[in-house]
């Protein structure tokens, strides 16, 4: 595969010196001037290509070499066409030669030269001129013209369309619509001419036209499509393939939404749709008379379509083509590649039908029976999942108009797909894209969407790196007031879901008991009856059956060994980001009660997480940040949840295991537990909070940390001290107690190193803070305004305040002094 050889080739190409390169160029020019160009020329050109493409910086070629290469573009040998086109694409056109081919001779270029011209097109004007030439050649084309040049017209046109749809004028569009109709609907239904197969017994017999066949071998009974086969193909059958390949793009680019502008129009259209379902006569267009003997359900209804203008006629023919494809896809193809093609054709057909129904609403009633039948046929077979997605899109776009019940579609899409196909990479990509593009529509029309997050998150749990980007966009839509708490629990347990999905996949692959092997503890637990309920909860499809389970810690224990599985680790890395998005979204829609509940969940779950290295720390960090934000927005939350917060703050073990959250809890208690934030805050509450925090502070500063734990982080100690000082400043009876503690602290630390602080500098910082607080508390009134400043002070607007802004002051002074 990739080897040192390739690496050294690239290095050589990059480091080739100028003189050597010049010699190579002149050698090549001489070579190309020769009459017969052989292997040496091919190799040299290839090497030139490597030299040019090995670096991103452009190398220029000497003019004569460039000239030789350009003339080589028209070489009869395809190899030289390919190579010269490739080489010229890697370099810049000679100045003054840009647009060399756009004038007259584009249509005579071979495919590779055309690719070069396209890649060098510098502006929309260039593309317009290319386009005009192409279409002129199509228009004036003689039937015995050169066959090769026509087939790639359509791909080139499609490229032009992609970059600059306005290149085609109205006339061009009309011309192309007519041509496309011819190729799509009226291609020959006999196999391509070709030479007679030879052999002894073939004579005039072999020249009789053989009809095309379907993929299952039966003789085809209707017009030619991409799902028809033959020994060889005529040119218009090739054009049929190229036309269909670009049809969807064409229809989307030149769509015109008809909303029945005039009553005559609407009447006409209605009459057409009625007559289309009744009449049997055939359109007497040029080509179709030849096919007069062929009858089928689809073409029988094509009678009055010749009355339609070209664009609408193309739409009608596209409609029929798609219906035929859907019909043909029901046949059992002999080869696997054909079966795959049938699926791709189904996807394309449904998408085209969706698009034309969007343009002309009258078509919805014709299309729906077909789509509905297709859904019925495919819904039980999950191998057609990727076809069912465009069908779901069709239902979403047109279901309401047709007043069709879509429930079974959504049950399939949001129920079975994520639950059973979470490990199909390509489906996941398309599924999530479908949701992203239709987010508003889904939230409006599919009530079960926002409840289906346990299912949707399975895609994320299985393959986080590939889909986390999509979930960053989708998560806000899944956050609703009713399910927010359950969603929070689900997000925190995503790594557990990941592990469970791996176990689920393994348990279907591995035998029940591995002979002599170490059975996975988690796999045994997954299979055992007693723990089934826990795993089933994680694997549930819809929200609403409960926020979380009681025996969560048991579950975590059983999954301990999964904490280093790559999938689980990758999943754990995405959770913090999603939590940030969750909290940012929920703050906007939550009421006080919900926010209080969320605070409780945060405190509870901070110790109840799957033990993956760094996961706990990351989650704690997210929690701390959002606890802070929540309390800042709604300070009365602190008084509301004071019981829970105090319980957390009073547990000394939390100082050692969860110092990030602990610090923040202590901080919010100190900051917001005051009468000015919430009138329910009583002196008793302040005192009990004080006592709780004081007890913890005593404990951690009087003895060494418990065995196995590090010394408490200095920030915890200082936060506790600050919080106590703040509380004391609000209830002055407590001041003596704080002052006493702080002076004791100073005395103790003067005596040398202490057991609870290992770093000299940290100790100094703690003591300094203690001294500052102690001196501040000597003046209680000042302490109160410093430690708990009133609102206007903390949000100064010196520049915005009209009374104090400097420019205004200056202006006032100037006016006063100059007006005299």
């Amino acid at each position: 595969m990739y080897s040192h050889g390739s690496e050294s080739l690239i290095n050589q190409a990059r480091e080739i010196q100028e003189p050597e390169l010049q010699r190579f160029h002149s050698r090549l020019v001489k070579l190309l001037q020769g009459k017969e160009l052989g292997h040496e020329a091919v190799d040299s050109l290839q090497r030139l290509h490597i030299i040019l493409s090995a670096t991103k910086y452009t190398r220029t070629l000497p003019p004569e070499l460039q000239g030789s290469l350009q003339s080589l573009l028209a070489s009869p040998a395809e190899q030289f066409q390919v190579l010269s086109s490739a080489v010229l694409r890697e370099t810049l056109p000679l100045s003054g030669q840009e647009g060399n081919y756009t004038q007259e001779n584009f249509i005579q270029l071979n495919n590779h030269a055309a690719a070069l011209v396209l890649s060098q097109a510098g502006s929309r004007a260039d593309l317009s001129s290319l386009c005009a030439q192409l279409l002129r050649s199509l228009e004036s084309r003689q039937s015995d013209g050169p066959a090769a040049s026509l087939t790639h017209t359509l791909p080139i046109l499609n490229t032009v369309l992609t970059h600059s749809p306005d290149c085609l004028t109205e006339d061009h569009v009309t011309l192309m619509s007519k041509k496309l109709v011819d190729w799509l609907r009226y291609a020959s239904i006999t196999q391509g001419g070709g030479a007679p197969s030879g052999g002894f017994f073939t004579g005039t017999r072999s020249r009789q036209p053989v009809p095309i066949a379907e993929l299952d071998g039966t003789v085809s009974g209707d017009f030619f499509t991409v799902l028809c086969v033959g020994q060889s193909f005529t040119e218009d059958q090739w054009m049929n393939v190229y036309s269909f390949s670009m049809l969807r793009h064409w229809l989307i680019t030149y769509r015109s939404v008809s909303n029945g502008n005039t009553t005559a129009d609407t009447a006409n259209r209605l009459q057409l749709s009625l007559s289309l379902s009744l009449s049997h006569s055939f359109s007497n267009d040029d080509r179709s008379e030849v096919d007069g003997s062929v009858v089928s359900m689809v073409s029988a209804t094509s009678s009055s379509s010749r009355l339609l203008p070209p664009k609408e006629r193309l739409r009608e023919k596209a409609f029929q083509y798609c219906q035929r494809l859907i019909e043909q896809s029901d046949r059992k193809a002999h080869k696997k590649t054909d079966t795959d093609l049938q699926k791709a054709c189904l996807v394309e057909a449904v998408c085209i039908l969706d698009s034309v129904c969007g343009e002309d609403a009258a078509l919805v009633f014709r299309a729906f029976p077909c789509i509905k039948a297709l859904f019925g046929r495919l819904s039980s077979d999950l191998s057609f999942a990727r076809v069912l997605l465009p069908i779901a899109q069709f239902y979403l776009n047109h279901g309401e108009m047709a007043a069709v019940d879509c429930e079974s579609v959504w049950n399939l899409v949001f129920g079975r797909f994520p639950a059973e196909l979470f490990d199909h990479q390509f489906l996941a990509h398309e599924f999530l894209r479908f949701i992203r593009l239709n987010l508003e529509s889904l939230q409006l029309r599919v009530p079960q969407y926002s409840r289906s997050f346990p299912n949707l998150l399975k895609f994320l749990a299985w393959n986080s790196p590939a889909v986390v980007d999509d979930f960053v966009d989708l998560l806000p839509s899944l956050v609703t007031a009713g399910t927010a708490v359950e969603l929070l629990h689900t997000l925190l347990d995503l790594p557990c879901l990941s592990a469970t999905l791996v176990l689920q996949v393994r348990s279907t692959c591995l035998p029940i008991s591995e002979p002599g092997g170490r059975g996975l503890l988690s796999l045994d637990a997954f299979r055992s009856q007693s723990f089934r309920g826990l795993f089933l909860f994680l694997l549930r499809g819809e929200a609403g059956s409960g926020d979380t389970i009681d025996r969560l810690s048991t579950l975590h224990e059983m999954l301990t060994e999964t904490a280093d599985w790559p999938r689980v680790v990758q999943c754990a890395q995405t959770v913090p980001v999603l939590l940030h998005i969750f909290f940012n979204t929920v703050i906007a829609i939550a009421d006080q009660k919900l926010l209080a509940h969320l605070v409780q969940v945060m405190l509870e779950r901070s110790s109840l997480l799957l033990n993956i290295p760094k996961y706990n720390k990351e989650i704690h960090r997210v929690f701390s940040r959002h606890l802070l934000l929540l309390c800042k927005l709604h300070p009365s939350l602190v008084v509301d949840q004071s019981h829970e917060l105090l319980e957390f703050a009073g547990t000394t073990a939390n100082v050692y295991s969860k110092e990030e959250i602990y610090t923040h809890v202590v901080w919010v208690l100190g900051e917001y537990l005051s009468g000015s934030c919430d009138s329910r805050c009583s002196v008793m509450l302040i005192t009990s909070c004080f006592e709780t925090l004081e007890a913890v502070l005593f404990e951690i500063t009087s003895s060494a940390p418990p065995p196995g734990a590090d010394c408490p982080v200095p920030r915890v100690v200082t936060s506790l001290m600050s919080a106590l000082a703040k509380l004391a400043s609000r209830s002055h009876d407590l001041i003596p107690r704080v002052s006493l503690f702080l002076s004791k602290l100073r005395t103790v630390t003067r005596g040398g190193p202490v057991a609870w602080c290992s770093d000299e500098e940290d100790l100094v910082a703690i003591v300094t803070r203690g001294e500052e607080l102690w001196s501040l508390l000597k003046a209680p009134g000042v302490a109160q305004s410093v430690l708990t400043p009133p609102q206007p002070v903390t949000t100064p607007q010196w520049h915005g305040d009209t009374n104090v802004a400097m420019p205004l002051q200056l202006r006032a002074l100037t006016n006063l002094t100059h007006s005299q």
């Binding site: 595969m1 990739y2 050889g5 690496e7 690239i10 290839q46 290509h49 493409s53 991103k56 910086y57 452009t58 040998a77 395809e78 190899q79 390919v82 086109s85 056109p93 495919n111 590779h112 055309a114 690719a115 396209l118 890649s119 097109a121 510098g122 929309r124 593309l127 359509l154 791909p155 499609n158 490229t159 970059h163 993929l215 991409v226 799902l227 086969v229 033959g230 193909f233 090739w238 393939v241 190229y242 390949s245 969807r248 590649t337 054909d338 795959d340 093609l341 791709a344 996807v347 394309e348 998408c351 990479q425 990509h429 894209r433 790196p465 590939a466 980007d469 599985w565 790559p566 990758q570």
Partner: protein, 200 residues
């Protein structure tokens, strides 16, 4: 429309940094995608080319990252297929689809479909409304042809030395970036032409 087709490394390369990828073959279809934009007009053709090359490298890096994470997660031991076992190598290949956001690196959102066979990745960057099922099938087909025509399962460096064969293959199976609905007869006809080209 397919924007581009790449063949690049998905294994660590000694000369490059950890997440980097060496692009062995790249083919961009059509004119420069910033054709109409004002910013593009300010750039010289040289700068435009550098920009395009850098965009290709961004795609290659993204796919390299995706492929290595996917392989790590699946935990399957790498399959060492030898020349002649192309079908097996393809079957065992990891594959996936990456979403490339608008602006990163192409102006509109695109999808990068990839297949990783041993140390190389084959990537097709498609426009969003493209038929991805067809694109996936086309990618598999192209990969199989590349593996066979260029003897990629062997130790040689034919990707670089025979890139014109890939060009010829693409000009038939993916002309100017157009995905084609080819049943086995049409495909057979085109593949015969490509094989005839390679035989010369």
């Amino acid at each position: 429309m397919v924007r581009c087709f790449l063949i690049h490394t998905v294994c660590p390369v000694a000369a490059l940094g950890p997440g980097e990828s060496r692009v062995l073959y790249s083919r961009v279809f059509g004119p420069d995608e910033g054709l109409g934009s004002d910013r593009n007009r300010e750039l010289s053709p040289e700068e435009r080319r550098v920009l395009q090359k850098e965009k290709i490298m961004v795609v290659a890096r993204q796919v390299r990252g995706a492929a290595s994470l996917s392989r790590e997660a699946s935990g399957r031991p790498p399959v060492e297929a030898v020349p002649g076992e192309e079908a097996l190598a393809l079957q065992e290949a990891d594959g996936g689809a990456e979403r490339l956001r608008a602006g990163d690196p192409f102006p509109e959102e695109t999808s990068a479909l990839w297949l990783a066979v041993q140390s190389l990745g084959f990537t097709l960057v498609c426009e969003p409304h493209e038929n991805l099922l067809l694109a996936e099938g086309t990618l598999r087909n192209l990969t199989r042809h590349c593996l066979e025509t260029l003897h990629m399962l062997g130790p040689g460096s034919e990707v670089l030395l025979r890139s014109h064969r890939v060009d010829a293959l693409l000009s038939r199976l993916l002309p100017h970036g157009q995905l084609l609905f080819l049943n086995h007869r049409f495909a057979h006809s085109l593949e015969k032409e490509a094989a005839a080209y390679a035989a010369k």
